[in-house]
Symmetry: C2
Subunit: 245 residues, 2 copies
């Protein structure tokens, strides 16, 4: 399993992915699920993946070599807009399905993949997309300024309650770490280390890339501190005046 989350904020994008890949519970590996491509000052992209690792790696390889879109072969460095970038990723997913889908189905393996694509191209706004296994996609908006893929339920309540388009980037970092920690605690198939990427609006480059391990002092503070903060918060809530006989 996997948990990846992306925040689409006024100040930029905050992206976080876990690294656990498993085939059964006794075959666990670490693979980054975050791919980044940037031409500083011109364009920056990050792709986060969940689902079948063979599919998501094939998608990224095809994107690097070029995928047919609008009649010619393009990479993320060629597309004129973020919308075309999302289309290109979708086209890459469809190419992989054309190539591998039938053989996978013959082995009883579903075509399971979901991708987050965030980024910005000079002259236009930063955007964040979720691309499905069918190659179609949705986009984060100011109404719902976050997208998740993989094991999303444990980490969703904190985002539902507090993330807004106006949330500052630094607060966004705290929130995706809390969201990830909630997931790590509840699902063994989501695991450390995690990869963090922050892309400031109009910076047109990765502003912060960090692999966060078990030893990361700040993340350890978040893990311990958040449980304490929740405990304080519920204790501070008034009790009901209901009588228990």
């Amino acid at each position: 399993m996997t948990y990846c989350v992306g925040l689409y904020l006024d100040e930029g994008l905050v992206l976080l992915s876990d690294t656990r890949t498993n085939a059964g519970v006794d075959n666990i590996s670490i693979f980054s699920k975050m791919q980044v491509d940037e031409v500083p000052g011109q364009r920056v992209f990050a792709m986060l993946s969940s689902g079948n690792l063979a599919i998501s790696q094939a998608v990224w390889n095809r994107l690097s070599e070029g995928v047919m879109l609008d009649g010619f072969r393009q990479t993320l460095r060629d597309v004129p807009t973020m919308f075309r970038a999302a289309q290109l990723v979708g086209a890459a997913v469809r190419e992989v399905y054309q190539t591998d889908g039938q053989a996978m189905a013959a082995q009883g393996v579903g075509f399971d993949v979901a991708l987050l694509l965030g980024g910005q191209i000079a002259g236009a706004a930063h955007r964040l997309f979720l691309i499905y296994a069918a190659g179609n996609f949705i986009e984060a908006t100011q109404d719902t300024p976050f997208l998740q893929i993989g094991e999303h339920k444990y980490g969703k309540p904190i985002l539902d309650r507090v993330v807004e388009f106006g949330t500052p980037l630094m607060d966004g970092i705290k929130l995706v770490l809390v969201s990830m920690d909630s997931t790590l605690r509840s699902n063994l198939t989501v695991g450390l280390p995690v990869d963090l990427l922050v892309v400031r609006r109009d910076a047109l480059a990765a502003g912060l890339r960090r692999r966060i391990t078990e030893e990361d002092e700040y993340f350890r503070g978040v893990r311990d501190g958040w449980s304490g903060a929740l405990r304080d918060a519920y204790r501070a809530m008034p009790a009901p005046d209901w009588v228990i006989s």
Copy 2:
């Protein structure tokens, strides 16, 4: 879908269930998923259900009329221990499977049910069980003093982080309401009103039964207050000293 949660605390049991039953998204009804039976001063039981409503209603009806266990027909008023009570509920589930399982399978309907059984019988401790569709069961312990059925993921992080066996009943009420609210916000098939039951240890009766509706003033305070408390909590957390370029 459904969300039911039970806390097994030193001071007693706190049980909460939603009431939404749906067959598709355009056929939604309110059914209580909490059944209570008590002989004040002697024994008290509550059964919370998720899954197929026809199954859980049949289970409760059979329990009322008597289910074969250890060679004779018994109800929850006859069993000598909470362990036997859980066995009896499991036996009722198996009877329903014997009666209806094949016909349901013929219609492509899975035998989907999960039940929480909490209670106490005079002279022994209060206990909380989760009974599966196969009629077997597990029990909450001091290590993991809560059990959930139905759509459990959204409401689990808060419980994972703060519920302990020593949590007071009043705090337990706050926590199950926060856990339920997290679920209500994220899954449309879990809906208000919710049914709350508190059974104080050794009281051998329902200590508090309350149907909580949209209009319940305390629950509204929890809903609004918790989001505010989380916002304050994450803002109060120190920011990392990482630099975003």
